[in-house]
Symmetry: C2
Subunit: 151 residues, 2 copies
Amino acid sequence: MRVSAKADYAVRAAAELAAVEDGPVKGERLAEAQDIPLQFLEHILLELKHAGIVRARRGAKGGYWLARPAEEITIADVIRAVEGPIANVQSAPPESVHYRGKAEHLVEVWIAVRASLRAVLEHTTLADLTTGKLPKAVKRLAASPDAWEHR
Amino acid sequence: MRVSAKADYAVRAAAELAAVEDGPVKGERLAEAQDIPLQFLEHILLELKHAGIVRARRGAKGGYWLARPAEEITIADVIRAVEGPIANVQSAPPESVHYRGKAEHLVEVWIAVRASLRAVLEHTTLADLTTGKLPKAVKRLAASPDAWEHR
DNA sequence: TCGCTCCTGACCAAGGCAGTCGAGAAAGTC
DNA sequence: GACTTTCTCGACTGCCTTGGTCAGGAGCGA
């Protein structure tokens, strides 16, 4: 139930890419802008490339750029690219686990958990993130003061 | 973004306890009912005890029982007892991280993620779970057919 | 062909995860 | 008081993930 450094870095780097439209940005610049260890970031960018989220060119004037418009890439896409499926239970998708006894309805709870995560992550795009114009439902969730409380 | 075996086990054991009201249940019976390795389960039950969710007595006729009524214990309580805070980013609470550059609004997204998890987990009690009468919002989330799709 | 930048695999330390083991301490039961 | 039952709890283990670093290679542009 936590967001790994890798996922966090990946989203931040992608956001940075979403904000520039003129040509490739080199890894070094992304690393500086977001304060991410360069060599680690390069691994992450490679995964994003393999997932078809980012493109890259080598050599002078090389760098990375988004493969699709920022409006069409969601945060969920980025996280899945580096972390695999969201909200697995015991490394298996929730719909495939089978509960017995008094825990039968637990599967519905995990499904609901996943659905509510998706509701946030699949509807927020990189464009939303860079402009700050988050979807209304997300804004509403983040607006409540006790969403900011620690517990 | 995954549910650990420990959290899953903890909730299942707690659900099993919620379903009996007559006296203590021994660890062995819980382990069998939910198919959980006994010795591992005992560690988990101990943590639940330290968190004040469960009580225990040793000796013949000993066992475990819920410290409070099942209607007053939420799944979030149980998960926090064994896993710590829900939805941390990089092992720190989301409201304490500071983003720069184009990722500034990311903090709101993580807050929204946490809030939406809480909306499910803090409103579902052990009583809801054993009776199958989940909160309406949770039912609604789990009812959508594509909540069950893999992706 | 030279310099730049990405690409990739190997490696590493620390810590978490999912348990197992074994000795003890309390609570009955006879 | 002996005995059994059951929780308590620390130690230990093997494996995997996390969060990196390092070194070399491969493609690109000039």
